[in-house]
């Protein structure tokens, strides 16, 4: 209480700037007067009495200091003084201040952006109750990482370590029909316990529960996402209880999920949630009873006190049981627990990528700090006279240190604030940016307190780092030495060495970053030139899902033929064909087992290979630009009444038939015997980094598909052909949702990782290049300006230009060389790091090494050109007269 009273009084005094010493002065006066009178009474002369009174009182100045210290808050007062002084000093040299601020703004801004993404993607917990004991159960042997639905049920019932498990099946491009309009939506089929397991509450209405499911088709309920509810139904609460059609089957809307809830995947925002019991009504068929197909993702919540280790052992014991019970399908499986959120196994890649970029961003900041430290050190050297004067006048060294640190911290905090602000804006833009086109895939980045805290900490840390170096310098300065010799003295060269080291380190870091960004660009170029097996340039994709509007089977085939004919009749169109899902679009039939003819026991262990299957129309290969290597193309005569035929890709032919010619050979697919009539070139089907994959093209007249992608190759501009296709399709299939894009646009999701990596590393490399330029420029300019007089004398004494140049910019150049070599070596040793970031990265690539060397040399020349010119044009007579 007392202490509080006192603090309050002091704060009040501090705030009111009550610095009046009037009261103390008067008290002291009266005190000394009384003492003097007393002394006179004891028989002293007035002067003597007064002197004794003063002596007895003690040093008035010290008393006043102590009194003042008691009165206000000296620490805060000094801080304010320091800040005001620092601001004045910084205003006095605007160029220096602006350079420092911009450097920091970029350095800290880059870090905050990277951290913001890292925070949102990896550190930010999912919007579910108790995310800490929620895991995804991942089986690496199965495509998609999940088990078959019956296996999921086995795991769920037999395990002793989970309080609950839920299965999720993502289904995109579903037709949602309401009021005679069909929208394309993407969402989840989930087991009934899904919402209860995650512990979320509905925003409106109710969720479905495990008790709602009574076998297949028993729960025709749909829960809408908040976004879909707002977008399509104008947030109308009366929609609860209404019936909408999903894939032409009726579903009752029972509730709306909370706004921030989007399941357990960071990048995916589902539009709807439907009970898995009704999977058949949505997709047209279901996987609830087959162990051959492994489509679901499984999440589970650990029982309290159960470790990940125990749960994994428990699951693997079940996997061994299942392998004994179902040797045909469930052999050799293993389970592993991973954190949900980043599309299964991609988590490791994404995490490593982000952490690597974070490291590089921190290196940029380190380079910026080295740059600023040398700038501040140079300034401290210029101000050494002022500093030593202050020491001589009795200022304590701590006080000076604090003053210099305050200056550095002011710069770092202002620069950091600007950096965080820019980063916040950029993150907002990123958050609204939809890298995979419009749709449900997006990353929402919220700038939360963590991000601001990191920005503040980075600013403070960098301020202290680059403030300590010049402060150390002031600490060691001897006032006597300084006053005697002035700024240029014998310690000059030694002091220079610290800054040399800083610049060398800075250049090494910058070279490393420039190398990294060159590697990324090379990787991107590689990725763009990887043989895709298709020719996206000049091709247009029109996605029409006929199933959404209830056109299936033979009707769908007739419509498709009609669409192809209409497209071929558009002037300028060279070829048009259809496929169910385009390669590299993220969808399509995959992992389909292929057997030799006559195989009776069709278990997975007897399969020769697993392949992708593309039902296509005759002209698809021509429209897609996929070359037919041997054999014939498909025709419309390869229909339901003729023997089944297929074109296989080169990998399929090699794996299945070895060296023998594939044409005329047969294989079993879905219990049908197919004859190979042609071999097509290999391609990429899922992503650019995949190893050669088998693929089969079958006739769409033999495997009918309602999902349709019309591929049109034409010489028209993309806008013309898009408009023509839109017109044609809205006549042919008036109600179906249609998406028309160039194939190149459609590939953006495949190129996304490479593009992101290139953009991130490119920006960091650019920042590094800028820092290198400012660093070298600063150093060269400073050394030239400090040695102007010396250079003038040299020129006057007849020094040649090369000699002047060497004196002026020799040292920065040597540092540039040494730093670059170090940075390049570091870049080569960091190839593992870079390899994680970019596809086909190889820092030993001669083009990369050469590029980095050339870049650094160019940067060096650009940065030292101006100071060197100044050194060369020095006019000795003028210079010597000035002093």
């Amino acid at each position: 209480m007392r202490a509080l009273n006192r603090l309050f009084a002091r704060l009040l005094n501090f705030a009111a700037r009550r610095r009046d010493d009037e009261r103390l002065r008067e008290e002291i006066e009266s005190h000394i007067a009384i003492q003097t009178e007393e002394n006179i009474r004891t028989g002293m002369t007035p002067e003597e009495a007064r002197r004794h009174a003063r002596l007895k009182f003690g040093a008035i100045e010290t008393v006043r200091e102590n009194y003042h210290a008691e009165k206000g808050l000296p620490f805060l007062e000094n801080l304010l003084l320091d800040i005001r002084y620092a601001l004045r000093v910084l205003r006095k040299s605007p160029a220096f201040t602006v350079v420092a601020l911009v450097t920091l703004m970029l350095g800290i801004g880059a870090n905050v952006v990277v951290f913001g993404v890292l925070n949102a993607v990896i550190l930010h917990p999912l919007n579910v109750a108790e995310p800490n004991n929620l895991y995804q159960i991942f089986h690496k042997e199965w495509m998609g990482g999940g088990p078959s639905y019956p296996a999921f049920e086995d795991y769920r019932q037999r395990n002793t370590t989970f309080t609950g498990m839920a299965a999720i099946y993502g289904l995109s491009s579903v037709g949602l029909q309401w009021n005679n309009a069909v929208r394309e939506v993407s969402g989840y089929d989930v087991t009934g316990n899904y919402f209860d397991l995650l512990g979320v509450e509905p925003e409106v209405g109710r969720f479905f529960h495990a008790s709602d499911e009574h076998g297949p088709g028993s729960a025709p309920y749909v829960v809408l996402s908040d976004a879909l509810w707002r977008r399509e139904f104008h947030a109308d609460p009366s929609m609860i209880g209404k019936t909408v059609n999903l894939s032409t089957n009726p579903f009752t809307i029972i509730g709306v999920a909370p706004r921030e809830f989007h399941g357990t995947e960071q990048f995916f925002w589902p539009d709807y949630f439907v009970p898995m019991a009704n999977e058949e009504q949505v997709e047209g068929w279901d996987f609830l009873h087959t162990r051959l197909y492994t489509p679901v993702s499984v999440i589970g919540r650990l029982k309290p006190g159960v470790t990940v280790q125990q749960a994994t052992e428990n699951l693997n014991a079940i996997a061994r049981e299942l392998a004994r019970e179902y040797p045909a399908t469930d052999k050799d499986q293993s389970a592993r627990l991973i954190r949900p959120g980043l599309e299964g196994d991609n988590e490791k890649i994404i995490r490593e990528f982000l952490v690597s970029v974070m490291v590089l961003a921190l290196l940029v900041l380190a380079a910026a700090c080295a740059n600023l430290a040398s700038l501040f050190a140079a300034r401290a050297a210029d101000r050494s006279r002022e500093l030593s004067l202050r020491v001589a006048l009795g200022s304590s060294r701590q006080r000076l240190l604090r003053q210099l640190l305050t200056e550095a911290l002011m710069v770092s905090l202002i620069g950091g604030a600007a950096g965080v602000m820019c980063a916040g804006l950029l993150l907002n833009v990123l958050s609204r940016w939809q890298p995979f086109g419009s749709g449900s895939a997006q990353l929402v980045i919220t700038v939360d307190a963590h991000v601001y805290l990191v920005g503040l900490l980075l600013s403070l840390a960098s301020g202290i780092i680059f403030g300590i170096i010049p402060a150390r310098h002031a600490w060691q300065s001897s006032p006597l030495q300084m006053m005697k010799t002035g700024p240029v003295n014998s310690t000059h060269l030694r002091r220079f060495a610290v800054r040399d080291l800083l610049l060398g380190a800075q250049i090494a870091i910058c070279t490393l970053l420039v190398t990294a960004s060159l590697v990324a660009v090379r990787g991107m170029v590689h990725a763009l030139h990887a043989p895709l097996g298709i020719e996206p340039k000049g091709a247009m994709l029109a996605q029409v899902n006929l199933g959404m509007v209830g056109i299936n089977g033979d009707d769908a085939l007739a419509k498709q033929k009609q669409m192809i004919d209409a497209a071929e009749n558009i002037p300028g169109v060279q070829a048009a064909g259809i496929v169910n899902f385009a390669p590299l679009s993220g969808s399509g039939m995959s992992g389909i087992p292929v057997y030799r003819p006559g195989t009776v026991d069709q278990s997975l262990s007897n399969q020769v290979l697993a392949t992708r299957v593309y039902p296509v129309s005759p002209d698809y290969l021509k429209a897609a630009g996929t070359r037919l290597l041997t054999g014939r193309n498909l025709t419309w005569h390869d229909d339901a009444h003729s023997p089944r035929v297929a074109i296989v890709n080169a990998t399929f032919a090699r794996k299945m038939f070895g060296q023998a010619s594939a044409i005329g050979q047969r294989f079993l697919l879905w219990n049908d015997l197919y004859e190979v009539v042609g071999v097509a070139e290999d391609g990429k089907y899922v992503d650019l980094t995949e190893s050669p994959t088998s693929a089969v093209y079958t006739s769409t007249a033999q495997i009918r598909q309602s999902s349709t992608v019309l591929v049109v190759r034409s010489s028209l501009s993309s806008r013309e052909i898009a408009a023509a296709l839109q017109r044609m399709l809205s006549e042919t299939v008036p109600t179906a949702p249609i998406t028309i894009r160039t194939w190149e646009d459609a590939l953006s999701n495949v190129l996304f990782p490479a593009r992101t990596a290139t953009a991130a590393l490119g920006v960091l490399g650019l920042l590094a290049a800028m820092l290198a330029v400012t660093g070298i420029f600063g150093m060269a300019a400073y050394s030239v300006s400090r040695r102007m007089k010396e250079l003038g004398i040299r020129v006057a004494l007849g020094a040649r230009k090369t000699q002047v140049m060497r004196a002026a910019v020799g040292r920065p150049m040597v540092l540039l060389g040494a730093g670059s070599v170090l940075g390049l070596l570091a870049g080569i040793f960091a190839s593992r790091l870079l390899g994680q970031i970019v596809y086909q990265a190889n820092p030993r690539d001669p083009i990369v090494v050469g590029g980095a060397v050339l870049t650094m040399a160019l940067l060096g020349i650009v940065a030292s050109a101006i100071p060197a010119r100044r050194a060369l044009t020095v006019d000795p007579s003028k210079l010597l007269r000035e002093e």
Binding site: R2, A3, N5, R6, A9, R10, R23, L24, E26, E27, I28, S30, H31, A33, I34, Q35, E37, K56, F57, G58, A59, I60, T62, V63, N66, Y67, A69, E70, K71
Partner: protein
């Protein structure tokens, strides 16, 4: 000549409080004189050091002050104990006595007294 002792930190405040308790309102000089007298000139006191202590006590609410005329009609600032100051003095006194008693007991104990 006797060796004079410096005033230990913290005890000066206690002395000030006790002085005001005994003598009632007093100005700075009066307090200083009184402390010197009581201590029998054993303490060397730079009288000026009193003033920061007075300010501190006042900020803590233990004493209050007002301008008033001194004995010889000079303007002087008079300090008096507040109720909070009385309480503080009582508490400090107890603390001090306790500490003194403990220390005293330590000095009384001899080796043979120990069990």
């Amino acid at each position: 000549m006797k060796q004079k002792k410096d005033v230990p930190q913290g005890t000066l405040a206690l002395m000030v409080l006790k002085t005001l308790d005994v003598l009632g309102p007093l100005h700075g000089y009066g307090i200083a004189r009184r402390i010197e007298q009581i201590s029998g000139d054993l303490l060397s006191l730079n009288q000026g050091t009193l003033y920061p202590v007075l300010l501190r006590l006042e900020q803590e609410g233990a004493i209050a002050s007002d301008w008033g005329p001194s004995e010889n009609n000079r303007r002087a600032r008079f300090y008096r104990l507040t109720p909070a100051g009385h309480k503080l003095l009582a508490a400090e006194k107890r603390d001090w006595e306790q500490t003194a008693a403990i220390i005293a007991r330590f000095f009384e104990v001899n080796a043979q007294d120990l069990p």
